[in-house]
Symmetry: C2
Subunit: 329 residues, 2 copies
DNA sequence: TTGTAGGCGTTATCAT
DNA sequence: ATGATAACGCCTACAA
């Protein structure tokens, strides 16, 4: 393996000089820069990121914490895009990434988790799909031991940013569109995890809408479960004009139930997953660009690692209907 | 951060002694082992794997190479299970993992790829879902610069193992079952990527079956594309008794086409993905335990890193029908 | 502006 | 059986 030492020798300068050039320090003459860069080229030198990570605590090792729910593989799509977007952006930014799953820490303490991350020389973490029930992770962010970016939540402090779409507005938008299109009055709203961060925001959006349009609304907690949403719909569906769901999976459960009941009610979902195209009936939904969100999260983490303060970053969304013909290829 | 040095001091021994205890070297007295382990406990010491990786080339850093096809997110399920199974097993075995995607190396040379992996101190790699067209990866395995495990292929050499189910038998089994159940004679077989490793094996299984049962068979290349399978079925479906597909996605495409054509033909798939439950019509398919396969792959890589020779590892499979009711939760 | 040298936390090779 | 000590490859004061 060709090391910085070889480059230094080849270029006729000191090791530290090479390091400075590589890390774009000021106070290096154009001339030596060129010498060094040529040596790098000629030797095909690629810096060893492991050594870099060991040497400086600043080095960008990043952990992805993914909330992988084994039971609903249908939404692996979302996590996969999260992972993909993050890793690709990380490569661009020259950050090293390790991927971890919530389940790995289910019965570990906060301290253990922190020690594990430290043993991996992790400087920053991104948490995907955290809910209120994942209290270790909430505490992890609040401990501020690491730079931290969270999607779909709203913890913000000096070392923590949140990235994601405006759930309140998005939920409002998609529900309004569906309701107006179908001229509905009585809304059955199947919400997500109780006490989830985004669940609260979405509910807020619904309440605004209800007030504004003078609707009536029944709220049931579907726990992000397709089955629960199905059962709720079987029980209450016929008494309402529209079923608004805070996730596509629940929307699918609701729609399948309605089809079985042989009654028509418009249903709208939330997320924009491909699976929506396989259900037969089209529904309005909110398309989030998950890969984009996680790329933005990585970018934001990069900023935090560079010393910037935590903040809230809003990402764009759009309203769509997903058709089978559009998604197959 | 508490380091090996602290442990040494706390236990009243030398650093190297601690290291020996931690890595289960022989020639350490019971007494000192106990002393050291107590110190480890008391200080909550967790070894820094980055430093270990830097110090010893043996250290187990592993790269996952995943073939992520952005266009067919429906099968992210498979890759997600691969990733999950591998990472969980790696944690068990104390191996560090980084995840990479084929797309990152699309227009890079083999040498660049090797250098990149070396710069990450990677000792072993697992390649998921490689096809013949990914020639860089084939060369990567053949270069033997790293210990290597491959799923769904069959490169085996001193430093390379292959892990996966017996595609020839599995394809034979699922097709036979479907054909016998429906008493078919004329088979339309939609195969996968031309020249893919597993595609060849599956075709072999079909040819055996055709000969054995005295069937006639037309083989069309569906390129693992739902759309292509759909079009093939639209064109040829009616002239055959059964449509055998070498992937679930293609089976779904075929089934949807048949439903549109309003004719019934049994269809069978391959992989056992959840999406099969959303199509409405049940089909026979081969269920592979992808997480199990990748766990086995990681285990095998661990063996290779420990000095064992490459080999072929067969994993189990089963024939199933996936029903909507079974998969929702 | 450039170079020297110490350190990051381990592992591994020697002596002892 | 145990302990110094030199790597591993890089970063970064600090000195020149």
């Amino acid at each position: 393996m060709v090391s910085i030492k070889d480059v230094a020798r080849h270029a006729g300068v000191a090791i530290s000089t090479v390091s400075k050039v590589l890390n774009r320090y000021p106070n290096v003459s154009e001339e030596t820069k060129i010498k060094v860069n040529r040596a790098v080229e000629e030797l095909n030198f690629v810096p060893n990121s492991v050594a870099a990570a060991l040497s400086s605590k600043q080095a960008g090792r990043v952990a992805l914490l993914v909330n992988l729910n084994i039971k609903t593989q249908a939404i692996d799509e979302i996590n996969m895009q999260y992972i993909q977007g993050a890793i690709n952006k990380a490569m661009e930014l020259n950050l090293d990434v390790i991927t971890l799953f919530f389940s790995m820490f289910k019965d570990r303490s906060l301290e253990e988790l922190i020690r594990y991350l430290q043993s991996q020389s992790i400087a920053g973490i991104i948490i995907f799909g955290m809910g209120r029930e994942d209290d270790i992770l909430v505490k992890l962010a609040e401990s501020q031991k690491f730079k931290c970016v969270i999607t779909d939540a709203s913890i913000v402090n000096e070392n923590t940013s949140s990235v994601g779409i405006d759930h309140c507005r998005a939920q409002y938008d998609v529900a309004r569109k569906t309701i107006v299109e179908n001229n509905c009055k009585r809304v059955l709203y199947i919400s997500g995890q109780k006490d989830g961060y985004s669940a609260r925001e979405k509910l807020l959006g619904m309440e605004q809408l209800v007030e504004e349009m003078k609707l009536t609304m029944k709220v049931k907690n579907g726990g992000l479960s397709e089955l629960l949403a199905r059962n709720i719909t079987l029980e209450y569906g016929e008494y309402y004009d529209v079923v608004v769901c805070s996730s596509d999976l629940m929307a699918i459960g609701a729609m399948k139930a309605l089809i079985e009941m042989d009654i028509f009610r418009p249903v709208c979902g939330y997320d924009g997953i491909i699976l929506m195209g396989y259900v037969g009936k089209q529904m309005n939904t909110v398309r989030q660009d998950f890969a984009g969100i996680s790329a933005a999260a990585m970018e934001e983490l990069h900023q935090l690692l560079g010393g910037k303060e935590g903040r809230r970053v809003k990402t764009p969304y759009s309203l769509v209907r997903i058709k089978y013909k559009d998604i197959i290829c």
